[in-house]
């Protein structure tokens, strides 16, 4: 079984269902629109900020504010790519065609990851440039130290969120169960854990909290985060690897 054949097949699968188009376009639109809006508001609020807040002001990170919502669409994309197979029963047809389950899963993930990265990277650049345009005199330039890393990192962040969701969906199979766990986790629980004093130190090791540090250019005043931007992304990547391993083992062991 040539992996290239399976990759082609998975590309046909992913491009031939509507959910791919609407989840990814939603991710782009929400991230960019919200980024523009928050950048615009931040520009008007800048004069009211305290001195410490002005020193911590990170125009690059501000333009990525839309990702907190846009990532939810990426989660839906990642979940549906995998769990569609189970919810439709297609998985039995797919595994009869490609009985090597590792080849099947990783070809599917490779295709979906490449697509998520392409869309994520484009979204990241667009939201950066439009956000900076809204920020006026407070804007950052792509050539400023750390900015290019943050913008490329934004694309990587969106990709990893999608891949993490694929791994979780491979473990849990059903779309409702996967979304029911992932959506509240990333939308609520992670934010609560990361912003409450008592759990803050744990919260910052959660995949989204750690990973989003890649999009920061200006370190906040009195910040004591024990990892840098790449360290944070590395922590997120470990979460992703764990989810993929779990998904792979689940597919490997269980009856289809």
């Amino acid at each position: 079984m040539a992996a290239a054949q399976v990759v082609r097949s998975e590309w046909t699968k992913i491009r031939s269902v509507a959910s791919t188009v609407w989840t990814l376009s939603l991710a782009v639109v929400v991230t960019v629109a919200l980024g523009i809006l928050i950048s615009l508001l931040s520009r008007h609020e800048f004069d009211n900020l305290s001195r410490a807040e002005r020193l911590s002001f990170d125009p690059t990170f501000v333009s990525f504010a839309g990702m907190s919502l846009g990532q939810l669409a990426m989660i839906v994309f990642g979940v549906l790519v995998v769990s569609n197979e189970y919810s439709t029963g297609m998985i039995r047809t797919s595994l009869a065609a490609v009985p090597q389950r590792g080849t099947f899963l990783f070809s599917k993930l490779a295709v979906a990851t490449a697509l998520a990265f392409g869309v994520g990277l484009a979204t990241s650049f667009v939201t950066f440039f439009l956000g900076q345009a809204m920020l006026g005199e407070h804007r950052a330039a792509l050539g400023d130290p750390g900015v290019l890393r943050a913008v490329v990192g934004g694309g990587l962040y969106m990709t990893l969120i999608a891949v993490f969701s694929m791994g979780v969906a491979a473990m849990l199979r059903g779309p409702m169960l996967s979304l029911g766990i992932l959506m509240p986790f990333f939308f609520l629980i992670s934010n609560i854990l990361g912003n409450v004093g008592a759990t803050e130190k744990v919260g910052r090791y959660l995949p989204d909290q750690a990973g989003s540090s890649i999009m920061r250019v200006v370190t906040p005043v009195d910040d004591d985060t024990p990892y840098g931007p790449w360290g944070g992304l590395g922590i997120m990547a470990l979460w992703v690897l764990a989810a993929l391993l779990g998904g792979f083992l689940s597919l490997k062991k269980r009856d289809a």
Partner: protein, 320 residues
């Protein structure tokens, strides 16, 4: 050729498939018969490597399924016509299957044509009727031009025209020398299509026989005769060249004889008859007798006479 050897599947305490061993041979349609819940689908899923056997082994042309390079070119299967992403068009569904097994795109058009779905090739599968879904599933099975084909209850829910089409297709595939393995819970359906029969009940093998043998043993027409003068009747019939079989309860069974003819012979020789009745054992009855003890959920008819538990084959020996 599909070979099963001691194939067993347990779900916790429940044994779904129990030590099945048989081979499915090329050049004929092999019917896989059993009541609902007998373990037919589980067996088929294990053949395709979808479910892992608890014990035993199954091989396709001598090889484990997951070792086959491009398995769709060895064995094509229709397990569940609904195992399709409804949002994908028929063409794209078949295309992604073809690509995964290195089958050329032109073949997708061919099989769509074979099953008559070309006009709706670009339509989403969720709008398909059951019959169209079944045709799409069969197109997928034919895609790799495989030597072995396997269909799980292919006629379920089809209209008469669709049923006729599938029967003809299966026979023509077998006539081309292919191995065709098809499951059903209806004996009457199998009688029309299968050349060979594998019968299971509660996961156990009950019969592995040619259809002709099964019919010969189970579907014979005969005349049942009772008389208080057995010796005289026996002589009269023997003189007329008619062979008789004596059953346990003292009656005779006359194979292939005409009741009128026997009655006239008896009258001419003044032999008293207490019973003279033509009998026909239907295949469906034979199948039900065979599987009665293994049917999981009996519908109690209220008559209270549950079929007696017998060893397989015991009731073939001629006591009717």
């Amino acid at each position: 050729m599909i070979e099963l050897e001691g194939l067993t599947k347990r779900y916790g305490e429940k044994v779904a498939v129990n030590n099945l061993s048989f081979a499915v041979r090329p050049g004929m349609v092999t019917g896989f018969l059993g009541p609902n819940g007998a373990g037919k689908s589980t067996t088929m899923r294990m053949i395709l490597g979808l479910d892992r056997p608890t014990a035993g082994d199954v091989r396709i042309d001598g090889t484990h399924y997951d070792r086959l390079k491009d398995p769709l070119t060895y064995i094509g299967a229709l397990l569940d016509a609904k195992a399709v992403h409804g949002g994908r068009s028929a063409f794209n569904h078949l295309l992604c299957l073809a690509q995964s097994n290195g089958i050329p795109r032109a073949r997708v058009h061919e099989v769509l044509d074979t099953v008559g779905l070309t006009p709706v090739a670009r339509k989403k599968a969720k709008g398909f009727s059951l019959g169209m879904g079944q045709r799409l599933g069969i197109a997928g099975a034919l895609l790799g031009d495989p030597r072995i084909l396997m269909f799980d209850e292919p006629v379920n829910g089809l209209d008469p025209e669709g049923i006729h089409w599938i029967r003809t297709l299966m026979k023509s595939l077998a006539a081309q020398g292919r191995t065709v393995f098809v499951s059903s819970h209806l004996m009457s359906e199998m009688a029309l299509t299968a050349d060979h029969l594998v019968v299971i009940g509660q996961g156990r093998l009950l019969a592995d026989t040619s259809m002709a043998d099964f019919i010969q043993r189970n579907s014979r027409a005969y005349v049942r005769v009772r008389t208080p003068q057995p010796e005289q009747l026996s002589d009269v019939l023997a003189a007329a060249g008619i062979t008789v079989v004596r059953t346990g309860d003292g009656a005779f069974e006359v194979d292939g004889g005409k009741a009128e003819h026997i009655g006239e012979l008896a009258a001419r020789h003044q032999v008293v008859l207490h019973e003279l009745s033509p009998q026909q054992a239907s295949l469906e009855e034979a199948f039900m007798r065979l599987t009665a003890e293994s049917v999981e959920y009996h519908a109690h008819s209220g008559t209270g006479d549950a079929p007696a538990a017998r060893a397989w084959g015991e009731d073939w020996t001629g006591e009717g």
